[in-house]
Point group: C2
Chain length 371, copies 2
């Protein structure tokens, strides 16, 4: 077996939850896995070296943001994002579709041409076609690429969602052709269908016909309740190929993650640990805590006694309370790093509990803790 | 000899420049030495651990800022600033006087009572007396304390400066009494006198009568030219006790520093490496460079090929240009750390060149390079 080949190894599954390994030419990703988000080629407020220390095995890069800044020409000169930002392990890139719809003054979707959008930086107009998105992702040189899809806002209008499935399926086919063949890189399809079981099944079946290296759940984490999200996963993942990774895009809190793992998901990405880090919100084994709160003013305890990265366990909540309330950058640095490390510790516990058969107890303890 | 005793060891002096060691209970400070500034209990954008890696042997804490936030009560609970911010090596604290005059909506100076000021945060009114400043610095638990002084703005009005000397000398005496006796901590006097040789001599002689553990040059770096500043040092330092450290407050660029060393100074502090780091200005052996400049967009070279701290030598100027222009916190982190490291490398070269008798050549190469 070529060790550089991309493949998913299912190690254990019970009920719907799974323990696995994604093999890539840049290393193994143990699943369930969490991917910190490196929007503009940096996991915000964290040194690339320190990301490694948290046990992170894969990060996410945003095609839309990287396309605008620094631009593909520069990334191409560096041979891709890995060298540019000094991250040697795997990178997954999204297709840019989600940001076009959430950030740009959106112009229009054309099934045949692609998505017309204007930059949120300077208003400059661009066309992102499925082929163009793949081309950009290839220049970013990511290890796992995503197809361009149309991700509608939360709606109960089945017509809107059906239309999005129609366009997304068409784009998925074109993306697959543009991607071509690769044994070392992977292309994932994105299942749409809102919170409707029948539409999710329709979308998934069409994607399975095209045959992707992995399948993502898109169009979730867009405003639905946690129950609706988990129900949608439960309704859908059992039909997904068992020998391919399953990725829930843009999720979420540790509670969301443990719930999604129970419903068959292997991969996650979210800005939450870093964005919260910059606002003073910390994730701990005791739950979420807001370090701006004056009750921490005299608290000598650290966020996590066990975390020795950069001596994080030597910084008191009192000190963090002071730093965040005086807008010191070190607050963002310490809390973001703590949060990403906590997320990775959380994922490790999930993997261990699946391995040792104690996942259901871990799930019960955490499903409501971080909401 | 008690190894915990504070004392200055003069290792070598030639013309007016000197090589030395300040012995403190928290370690040795090799001089000439540069102190990064930890305004609010953090060297801005740099992990405390990483400050150590730059070879920094002493940092500066600002009494005014720490008094307002987090406040002395909290620092006292932690046994001082070292434990609060996890910095085990020596700390020098200023007296608060400079910030009162530069930041606060200043109310008034009263020779007998002290300096009345209002907080720049919320306008709350305070009185900082010489005794109060020493009390605060003792609670910060710094290793080197500074007397409260009146530091007038740049002026040619000798009356204003004479009055400042009068008040500062009176406060220096009171500070010394409040400080009491200590073999492990040091108290430095601050010489005023503007750019006038006679007034500098007058101020210095009065301070020598009081007898301090070290002598600082205050009232410089307030708008005078580099030539005026260096001339003032030349006019004054030769009268300073040879067996005590000499500290030039708030200076400066590497050129200022090498010029001041030539004129007998042993210690420096400045926000320049960290403040510049946050705006994208880097200090390198090739001079100052502005990383926002588009000419670095495609520049694959690092700021310093030799700097291995956090793999700094693996980050290209292109990447730094991207990060600073997209306002990423990682830009501040990487450039600030680089700059502090550069300053410490610069100080090391100064010390080595004094040791090996090549200082004058080093001086010539650098006296104009960073202006």
């Amino acid at each position: 077996m070529n060790s550089k080949k991309f493949f998913f190894e299912l190690i254990k599954s019970k009920n719907n939850y799974r323990l696995g390994k994604i093999h890539t030419k840049r290393g193994i990703i143990n699943t369930p896995a969490f991917m910190p988000v490196g929007t503009l080629g940096t996991i915000k407020s964290i040194f690339t070296d320190d990301i490694l220390k948290t046990g992170t095995e894969v990060i996410l890069g945003n095609t839309y943001h990287l396309f605008l800044r620094p631009g593909i020409e520069i990334l191409n000169k560096f041979g891709g994002l890995h060298k540019y930002m000094n991250w040697q392990k795997p990178i997954l890139t999204d297709s840019g579709g989600f940001q076009i719809m959430s950030l740009s003054k959106f112009t229009k979707i054309d099934k045949e041409k692609g998505a017309f959008f204007s930059s949120h930086i300077d208003g400059k107009k661009f066309l992102l076609s499925p082929e163009k998105s793949i081309e950009i992702q290839k220049k970013i040189n990511s290890d796992i690429l995503m197809v361009l899809d149309e991700c509608p806002k939360l709606t109960v209008d089945k017509k809107i969602i059906s239309s999005a499935i129609d366009i997304s399926t068409h784009w998925a086919k074109r993306s697959k052709i543009a991607f071509g063949k690769s044994s070392t890189k992977a292309l994932f399809g994105i299942v749409q269908g809102g919170i409707f079981k029948d539409l999710r099944h329709e979308s998934l079946e069409k994607l399975i016909d095209i045959n992707f290296d992995g399948y993502a759940m898109g169009g979730l984490a867009v405003g639905e309740t946690q129950d609706q999200m988990l129900k949608t996963l439960e309704d859908t993942t059992y039909l997904m190929p068992k020998n391919k990774p399953r990725y829930l895009m843009g999720v979420g809190t540790p509670s969301d993650i443990v719930g999604a793992v129970k419903n068959g998901i292997d991969m996650f990405d979210c800005v939450m640990p870093t964005r919260s880090g910059r606002t003073g919100l910390a994730f701990t084994w005791e739950g979420k805590i807001n370090l701006r709160n004056s009750k921490f003013k005299n608290d000598k305890s650290p966020l996590d006694r066990k975390c020795k990265i950069n001596n994080l366990n030597k910084y008191s909540k009192s000190y963090l309370n002071h730093l965040i309330n005086t807008n010191e950058i070190l607050a963002s640095m310490l809390i973001s790093l703590h949060n990403v490390n906590f997320y990775q510790e959380f994922m490790k516990k999930i993997r261990e509990s699946i391995k040792t058969g104690t996942f259901e107890a871990f799930y019960k303890k955490n499903i409501n803790k971080y909401n």
